[in-house]
Symmetry: C2
Subunit: 140 residues, 2 copies
């Protein structure tokens, strides 16, 4: 059951299980794609304060529960991390797909990020690929 998973995740991250945290995690799980702060705020506005959303997202970031996705359109999007996202360093070297029509952001776990050869003297720690295009659902 989902409710169980959520509690497990919070426990594992050494966070106390509160209503707002449960609700916000639930929103991410149901959404399936990345969300902006604004999206989360909207879906919780009747229940929780704007500030709580800020603090919750920040806490989730610190604990490695969610991560930000780089986008070219100036918006900050958050998405659930994979299992192997440990606190401090993320292993989210996957590809994010941004649909130009519906705006949905999908993490493409299946696809591997290709290795690249950096110039002499450069060292890569993390690679993010952002692909803009048209998603399955919006394809005419």
């Amino acid at each position: 059951m989902v409710e169980e998973q959520i509690i497990q995740l919070l426990r594992k991250s050494q966070l106390s299980v509160t209503d707002s945290r449960r609700k916000i995690l639930e929103i991410f799980i149901q959404a399936g794609s990345a969300l902006a702060h604004h999206d989360v705020e909207e879906k919780t506005s009747e229940r929780y304060d704007r500030v709580t959303v800020y603090r919750t997202l920040q806490t989730f970031m610190e604990k490695g529960i969610i991560h930000t996705i780089p986008t070219t359109d100036n918006s900050i999007k958050y998405a659930l991390c994979k299992e192997d996202c440990a606190e401090g360093h993320h292993h989210d070297n996957h590809i994010h797909f941004v649909c130009e029509i519906c705006g949905a952001i999908t993490c493409m776990d299946e696809i591997h990020v290709p290795t690249i050869n950096l110039p002499e003297g450069y060292h890569a720690n993390q690679i993010n690929m952002v692909v803009n295009g048209i998603c399955k659902n919006c394809k005419a």
Copy 2:
């Protein structure tokens, strides 16, 4: 001479040649790396209004003179586009390197963005790669 290039670029983009635009372009050329709005504002604060910086960056975006770089740290960075950036659609399929120490963002034009195989039904228009790591200058 650089001053000449700047005027050429503005003319080519059908923009009138004003002090603030010249100055801001100069800043980008001298910087060599990507800049945040804040960086530009700082370097022009004695001369130009904050609002002018906003409007100038926006205009440059629309004309394809600069483009945004996706970064994971929630900051919006702008960088000069390559020659082939036409108005409306950018061909900046190159790799951006973000140094975790000095914060500098470099466009790695030499390296080609590898092609990837998207799942059935997805269509890619633009690919951005953001590599976080340690740059040549910061390497111990």
